[in-house]
């Protein structure tokens, strides 16, 4: 069983998914405990896998479904799951977020999608399986399949909500399908040229045959790159994201928002480093010249759009678009620190977005709205929720010692080493926008002043609300505890950032990225 930990990561949620669907025939209430148990199992297996990867001499573990050998050239035709340290870290995040959201979901799912619990949990577990699979597969075609698994279940999870969600889903579906198709086309080209679908295999063939100048490979690179950019909601391909996340049921947005875009960033890193190789991706293509500029545009636009929102959920949705820009920028400024920053930001952004969306879910439940006008007095009503929420917010701003500070630190450092000043300046700019966003929120909750600047209460801290509205009324524990757990993760990952970064550095040893510093 020890060696099969990777397989168990999939068996638990797949089995759970089937059981949750079947539970609909017996008792819908069973779906929740089944999901939680299977997520606990999957998370445990994920931790075990990561530890195996860290402790092994090659820093990776591999599991071959179907038993095909890897010794042939081109490497392996079977289905390989390969977990190196990067894949292990990201899949742990996926499974961890999945577990926390599953626990959190109890009340929200009952309220928002009554009578559909069994289907909902079934889809949710499949979604997590798909996302975790994306992180761990070692096969470019299987990656496509798993992207589609995640996407299809994602459509279901969003559309299960209100009527408006259905329209948003359609949007998402069109763009998502285009993105995935482009990716598949790219993989097709790669297969034509290299004769293998295994990621390592593709790179070995490219390097062994010096295919870097091959037009086929170049085209494949562009197709795959653009496909991934669409899937990760990189501006201007972000149009599907805000509506999809805002109209979806609470639990869905809590699950999708922290993970989907981040996992696609992972895919981009995986493709650039492991499939095409550092030299091809960064030296042989011209992407590296203009991608940072696209990132600049993306971050500025997303930041302005976030500023224009008057609803927490929509604001957060645009924040995610901006954060995607951060990470893509970190990759394409092409150096060691930027890459560390991007990878660390995947982890920290997943945690802080989770924190914010969990908090928003609670606010929505308590206030029936997430519009800025309805939030006054929440500090006295739900202090713990607010603390959790704003820890996430401070992390987005990048205040120490939250994890957001450290990822921003590496990203800025990366920009400096590559002398990509435009990227650095835009990071500063968006940091200030985040300050405005979150402190404006604090103002709206804390002060007795309307947006146009009139005093509302009678002074001396009177918020112009009834006693009833400001009475201590904290969220139910099943929602509060996941929020506080994720908030503590934000701080703990910040404090122990060195442990994480050390692992990322071990992963990056195999790749020759410029450090910009003469050691």
């Amino acid at each position: 069983m020890m060696g099969d930990a990777i397989a168990w990561i999939f068996i638990f949620p797949l089995l759970g998914s089937v059981l949750a669907a079947l539970s609909g025939f017996v008792n819908r209430k069973l779906a929740y405990p089944i999901s939680v148990i299977s997520m606990v199992g999957a998370f445990g297996a994920g931790v075990e896998t990561l530890l195996q990867a860290i402790n092994s001499s090659t820093h990776e573990v591999s599991y071959i479904l179907g038993g095909w050998t890897l010794d042939l050239f081109p490497r392996g035709v079977g289905i390989e799951f390969r977990v190196d340290i990067l894949a292990g870290l990201i899949s742990i995040i996926v499974l961890g977020v999945g577990l926390i959201v599953t626990i959190y979901s109890k009340l929200a799912v009952e309220d928002e999608t009554p009578n559909k619990e069994s289907i909902y949990y079934s889809l949710m577990l499949l979604q997590i399986t798909g996302l975790a699979g994306i992180c761990m597969t070692g096969d470019a075609f299987n990656l496509y399949v798993l992207i589609e698994v995640a996407a299809l279940t994602g459509y279901g999870l969003i559309a299960i909500g209100s009527n408006r969600a259905a329209a948003a889903t359609f949007n998402y579906l069109i763009l998502g399908t285009i993105g995935a198709s482009l990716y598949l086309l790219g993989v097709g080209y790669l297969y034509i040229k290299t004769g293998t679908l295994n990621m390592i295999g593709i790179r070995e063939v490219i390097e062994a045959n010096r295919l870097a100048d091959s037009a086929t490979i170049q085209v494949a690179f562009v197709l795959i790159g653009v496909g991934i950019l669409i899937k990760m909601a990189f501006f201007p391909f972000h149009v599907w994201l805000p509506n999809a996340y805002c109209n979806a049921p609470t639990t869905t947005s809590c699950l999708l928002a922290p993970l989907v875009t981040k996992v696609m960033i992972y895919v981009m890193i995986r493709m650039l480093l492991s499939v095409f190789g550092v030299e091809f991706s960064f030296e042989s293509t011209i992407w590296v010249n203009w991608m940072p500029w696209l990132v600049v545009v993306a971050i500025i636009c997303a930041a302005f759009m976030a500023l224009a929102q008057r609803e927490i959920k929509r604001m957060l949705a645009y924040l995610i678009v901006a954060e995607v820009g951060y990470m893509v920028g970190g990759i394409w400024i092409y150096n060691y620190y930027g890459m560390i920053g991007s990878i660390f930001h995947i982890i920290s952004d997943a945690c802080m977005t989770l924190c914010l969306f969990l908090g928003t879910g609670i606010i929505l439940r308590a206030c029936k709205t997430t519009h800025f006008d309805g939030l006054r007095g929440l500090f006295s009503k739900m202090p713990l929720t607010m603390i959790g929420f704003f820890i996430g917010g401070f992390s987005i701003i990048g205040l120490p010692p939250t994890c957001g500070f450290f990822s921003k630190w590496y990203l800025i450092t990366g920009g400096m080493v590559s002398e990509r000043w435009e990227y650095m300046v835009v990071l500063m700019f968006s940091t200030m926008v985040m300050v405005v966003l979150f402190f404006r929120l604090i103002e709206r909750i804390h002060l007795a002043v309307s947006e146009s600047g009139e005093n509302l209460g009678k002074g001396h801290g009177d918020l112009g609300l009834s006693k009833e509205q400001t009475r201590f009324d904290e969220a139910p524990l099943v929602m509060l505890i996941p929020l506080l757990v994720s908030a503590s993760c934000v701080i703990l990952i910040g404090i122990y950032n060195q442990e994480v970064v050390n692992q990322i550095e071990i992963f990056l040893q195999d790749y020759d990225l410029p450090t910009g510093v003469d050691h």
Binding site: P400, M416, L447, T515, G516
Partner: protein, 495 residues
């Protein structure tokens, strides 16, 4: 000079944690048990001061205390270190916290303020951050506590929760976070990457002067990024947050915006000049003269603005900006005595200015008056308060036998060591300006006759918890003159 003895000691950390424990107690006691809550604050402040003072003999004997908390980056630890200047600053802040706590009781109850639990809680947090800055051993550690202070003082600045509070709070955070995130952070990461091949520890003791490896232009750019990045130091043109923050209740203005927050700013600037650049590098780079000119400009301009302010608290705020300029100036002079004078001025000005703010608050509690022009004849109604105001004014002006004299004396000596006679002239002019904007307040209060129309007969001294602290700090101004030996030793200048 031989390397000082370094002792591993947990007390600096305890001084940091004490307010957090106090915070728990304060929240637990809550609004319903106000007496208990204030007692807890008082005990916390006393414990913190006792911890800080207990380190005094060790540091005076020439040793240095260190405590390693955790490793931020591979080469940069979160390290606390207690040396002379840091301890001096910590002593001043923690002792004055005791006084402020007592004063807050009088002030907040006197005005029936709301949300006092929140007030005391965030006050405790701010003091924890202040201790952190005072005891930081490297740039990154100091940055962490600096940011913590910015955020934890925001609820205090916006305490009134009304429109003015919103404006003040926005100015406050806008300036402080913009500068720290957009100027300071790049400067820090620049040092981190390019010094020692990415192995820069940014330590204040081990790495002093390493900035000298950079080209001259880079050094100057970095100097400006650091100086303005720590915008709490109030150097013009990044000073407007301080008058904006005066919307806060007076105890906040007194302890935070005359002692803790602003002094954290200049203390950070002092650390940069004295311990990151070091006297040798700083005095040869050419950029420090710019800073000296800017600081002198700040001193003179803010004094002139102070002259025109009728609102007493705003007048004091601009006076504070000017006095902060002294400290930045002294640090930039880049001579041992100049920098010692800067450190001394942190303490001396703190004691004088907190007295003035206490008095302003006491007047407001007793009579509801905020403007200098309303104060005619009030000195006869409130003799202790206005007497203390007089003493505080004289100390800030820098007359013997008051503390303010000593620091100004060393600043002038430092300037002469460098042959910068013009600095002495600036100091003299500014002292004159201090006389013009501070003394009329006391003079009006004592010697002008009361307005006949107004019925001021009901005005008497503020409640005793307000009066006792301000009397004590006024006496403190004398004490600092007569027992200045250990202060001088902490500041690193020989008497």
């Amino acid at each position: 000079m031989s390397a000082p003895l370094i002792i591993e000691d947990i007390r600096p950390l305890l001084a940091l944690i004490a307010p957090w424990l106090g915070l728990v107690g304060i929240m637990w006691a809550g609004e319903k048990r106000a007496n208990l809550r204030e007692s807890i604050t008082f005990i916390t402040a006393s414990v913190q001061a006792a911890l800080v003072l207990s380190m005094l003999p060790i540091v005076l004997s020439g040793a240095i205390l260190e405590f390693h908390i955790w490793q931020i980056f591979s080469y940069v630890p979160m390290l606390l270190r207690v040396d002379g200047p840091g301890l001096l600053f910590a002593c001043v802040a923690s002792i004055l916290w005791i006084a402020t706590t007592l004063y807050s009781v009088g002030y907040m109850r006197g005005l029936h303020e709301h949300a006092q639990t929140r007030f005391y809680s965030f006050f405790a947090l701010s003091l924890s951050a202040t201790m952190g800055v005072a005891f930081s051993a490297n740039l990154l550690t100091i940055y962490f506590f600096y940011e913590m202070l910015s955020v934890s003082t925001f609820p205090l600045v916006t305490h009134m929760q009304d429109k003015d509070a919103r404006t003040g709070g926005r100015t406050y955070l806008g300036y402080l976070l913009f500068t720290s995130l957009c100027l300071l952070l790049p400067a820090l990461s620049w040092c981190y990457v390019w010094l020692d091949g990415g192995q820069m520890t940014m330590d204040f003791m081990a790495d002093t002067g390493k900035v000298g490896h950079f080209s001259e232009t880079t050094q100057i750019i970095l100097l400006f990024l650091f100086t303005y990045g720590f915008a709490k130091s109030g150097l013009m043109p990044f000073h407007s947050w301080l008058p904006g923050a005066m919307v806060a209740p007076t105890p906040v203005s007194a302890l935070l915006h005359a002692v803790a927050v602003v002094k954290v700013g200049v203390f950070c600037v002092y650390r940069i000049y004295a311990d990151v650049y070091g006297v040798e590098v700083l005095s040869q780079m050419g950029g420090e003269e710019w800073i000296m000119i800017i600081a002198s400009g700040t001193i003179l301009i803010s004094s002139l603005i102070a002259l025109s302010q009728d609102n007493l608290k705003r007048r004091l705020a601009f006076s504070t900006i000017g006095q902060l300029g002294y400290i930045a100036l002294g640090a930039a002079i880049a001579t041992d005595r100049g920098q010692g004078g800067a450190v001394l001025h942190i303490a001396m000005h703190a004691c004088g200015k907190i007295t003035l703010f206490f008095c302003a608050g006491a007047i407001f509690v007793a009579s509801g008056k905020k403007y200098v022009s309303q104060l005619r004849g009030i000195g006869r109604r409130m003799p202790i308060t206005m007497g203390a105001f007089m003493i505080g004014s004289l100390s800030v002006i820098g007359l013997p036998p008051l503390g303010g004299f000593i620091s100004k004396w060393y600043l002038a000596l430092g300037a002469l060591d460098r042959d910068a006679t013009w600095v002495v002239v600036v100091l003299l002019i500014s002292s004159l300006l201090n006389v013009f904007y501070l003394l009329p307040v006391a003079v009006t209060a004592f010697f002008r006759s009361e307005d006949t129309e107004e019925d001021d007969a009901s005005i008497k001294e503020a409640p005793w918890p307000c009066v006792v602290p301000l009397a004590c700090t006024a006496l403190g101004c004398f004490a600092m003159f007569f027992w200045s030996d250990s202060l001088l030793k902490l500041a690193g200048v020989s008497p």
